[in-house]
Symmetry: C2
């Protein structure tokens, strides 16, 4: 996951008797007729049972992370991942499977060595931030200046960091909804650029992560305000502790960074969005869209980010493919490429498919890790709220609340389609553990919870089925 | 911690009214007069309060792990650690501080690269086992043969592994008393030697660890049956999962290992046991001995293994030093050197101090991680059991049980003194988390629990005080 609106706070309304407050649903009366037929709901519940028994997403993710592994844009793993996805979708019986080319420039991670050279020499565990330039071959060595957060770095006077390495030590907070990410990730997005503007020769930061493992968290830097010309790296949380403890002692602390990462801004690499379709039996030109991203960072195997999303959405479609007949509308499972480097795949998807945007009747993406869904938030027209309420009634016994806000845009990639007008649903899973593994070597299959996979697949399957089989107009 | 008898099982008797079963204490009557005077016990309880408030061990461990860090035998960190310990003991006001030289041969870790080369190429996280030879410069590449445990490897026919890399995938079990370690660590101790005897060109194993972090666990190989001539490395648990998942698919899996570790069997390096004494006011020639080891593996900072032991025992002595007068007997805090490479420091201590063994009135070592003590097991003469019972009565309200067995030899280093006849007490802490961090990069100060440090220091301080102030004859 890159990030989108995880920093927001959600007003959560528990699903009990009345699902929306009077104010929200003022225009709907209690006597509104049922949107989904009894048969449709029965099928949804059958699909739930199927998903809860099958464990298909878990199996698929095991396959992806074992047979493919890391899939960073422009690497052999990325190309292998695309082949895997096409072959797997065909094997699962999707009606159509195709790829749409996505291009991006290449970035080379290279090697990294980091150490404190004085007064207490110690090796440090560090990782280059995405898009970082390298250091000179012999590295850079300079005094470290610590800032408690990005705002403090921003407030440093121009020129005050001349010849120094800037260090932001802000510690991300653990939150169920991932809302600790926003305040932390800004230091990754703009830290190096800002430090460079103050004269720094290098930039280091505490990892954007909630764990205490000696594995640093990589991730992209924002380039919308310019590209930093100084090397940028994250320290693991234990290493950031050690460094801050040294600095607290009052003597100047010198740090050496040797990093062979390299931008290849003119080297265009090809990747793809992989799309699998379940073709609708009545209005095949309209489709429910299930999103996730197929690319990953290179250090873990991408089993979590976003192997889980890839395989939950594939499994949801497969369970619907196994029904006696296709739903009325089509379903498109879109595995976006190049998400981690700035939602590149979905941007190119949007360019290519803008004329068809009205046919994306509703969408949902999974790009938020290992936990179970506990909340559902729609972003639909008012005429569709009763349909959403009926869906939520099916999810309520599973402990999923319905969010009173009706402003969902869709997670991650899909947020761009949501902003462009597509109706969406956001399913919020418990994200407490997500940022322990996010963008680290630790993003491996052993972190995937098979029971949560079943549970979440069940919800995606039910949602997708009801949206595709019914004629509900979700348009805003 | 290297290992000693963690594989044993303990019969634990909860401390309630009667502390030993009738059979164990048949010779003691309920009317045995109090061993420790009311004043002594009152002082013990004051020391408890002091330790619970002070947090000294935690402070000292922060200092050791920040200012020194890793302390593998023969490295600059090891030498710096010795300087740190001497200076710190002097600053704390120990009556005498000295070092006793310890020598050992040098082993160089070098660099390591591991990967699966086919049929599903993936980078693997691996670490060289202590004492391993290196590979040729270009590495070795061979088919992997998996064994579920060491016994299965042992059972492989001679010559059956010719040209292969042997792989033991046994997974260590998490247990409160660390008893999962023994069945797992045998594959580290003798795996490479055994694989070589069957013709293997390399040896890999699942890490001896209970975590699921992508950080492999190093540790020593046993050399009492010979030195393996093939390279030996451990994979992190997630990597072992990936490799086993690949092998399960049935196609031959090839593995490449490039490792520049090197034995320097003729290069003798000097290290030391560091000893700090609280000199007794009546029988200074007799001493209570508190053990731990100052050396560590090189990948973490040794904050846990055994920074905790080093600093708990130093703090316990310091609290007694702060009393108005010295106890009757001396206290010796011994920070052993070269423990991780085979209890080398204590062996040389024993050679040097064998004539004085009778003056080691009783000993306790800490070398088992981050948890709280929940059990105390003595290894003393029957005449001393009532004294032990009275100690245990003071610990009982803290939730510490008294073990009915009276066969303690002392943990880790001290076990060799215990086997040589020294009375001992073993304090068992909750070791559930210990093998998550053990011998990995993750052995850092953030894993140290300040409250557990206070608690355990309190117990060590009380025990040490009562043993040093009383004239109890603990001899077996």
């Amino acid at each position: 996951m890159l990030l989108n609106k995880l920093s927001g706070t959600f007003a959560v309304l528990a699903v009990t008797g009345s699902l929306f407050s009077q104010t929200v649903l003022a225009e709907e009366s209690a006597e509104t007729p049922t949107i989904f037929s009894a048969e449709m709901k029965a099928t949804a519940l059958e699909l739930k049972d199927t998903a809860m028994e099958a464990g298909l997403a878990y199996e698929l993710d095991e396959s992806l992370s074992t047979e493919v592994g890391p899939r960073r844009v422009g690497t052999p793993g990325d190309r292998l991942g695309i082949k895997w996805a096409v072959a797997k979708m065909k094997a699962l019986g999707f009606d159509k499977v195709w790829t749409e080319e996505v291009t991006h420039v290449y970035w080379e991670r290279g090697e990294i060595e980091a150490e404190v050279t004085g007064p207490y020499p110690q090796r440090m565990t560090a990782i280059a931030l995405g898009g970082s330039v390298g250091t000179p071959k012999k590295g850079i060595e300079a005094e470290v200046v610590e800032f408690e957060n990005f705002a403090a770095l921003e407030a440093a006077p121009e020129g005050s960091l001349k010849g120094k390495i800037a260090y932001v030590s802000y510690r991300m907070e653990r939150k169920i909804d991932g809302s600790g990410y926003g305040p932390a990730v800004i230091a990754r997005g703009y830290g190096a650029l800002t430090a460079e503007q103050k004269g720094a020769v290098g930039y280091i930061m505490r990892s954007v992560g909630t764990d205490n493992n000696r594995l640093a968290h990589t991730g992209g830097q924002r380039e919308d305000k310019g590209v930093a010309g100084i090397p940028a790296a994250a320290l693991s949380n234990p290493d950031a502790d050690i460094l801050s403890n040294m600095i607290r002692r009052g003597q100047p602390v010198t740090f050496k960074l040797k990093q062979s990462s390299k931008r290849h801004d003119k080297k265009v690499v090809k990747t793809a969005n992989v799309i699998g379709e379940v073709t609708g039996r009545e209005t095949p030109e309209d489709y429910v869209i299930l999103g996730s991203h197929l690319d990953s960072w290179d250090v873990g195997t991408g089993a979590v980010d976003d192997g889980i999303g890839v395989t939950i959405t594939m499994a949801a479609a497969k369970h619907i493919l196994d029904l006696p007949q296709r739903p009325k509308r089509s379903i498109r499972v879109v595995l976006f490429g190049a998400e981690e480097v700035g939602l590149v795949g979905v941007k190119q998807y949007l360019e290519k498919n803008r004329a068809e945007l009205d046919h994306h009747v509703i969408g949902a993406e999974w790009d938020f890790g290992v936990g179970r869904i506990y909340d559902m938030k729609p972003g639909v027209g008012p005429q569709a709220l009763n349909a959403i309420r009926e869906m939520a009634e099916l999810f309520a016994p599973m402990g999923v609340s319905l969010n009173a806000a009706n402003d969902a845009k869709g997670d991650s990639d899909l947020s761009l389609l949501g902003e462009a007008g597509m109706p969406a649903v956001e399913f919020a899973p418990d994200g407490s553990l997500y940022f322990d593994y996010h963008h680290t070597d630790n993003d491996t299959f052993d972190k995937v919870d098979p029971e949560a996979m079943k549970f979440n697949t069940a919800i995606y399957t039910m949602f997708t089925w009801l949206a595709a089989e019914s004629g509900v107009d979700f348009r805003k």
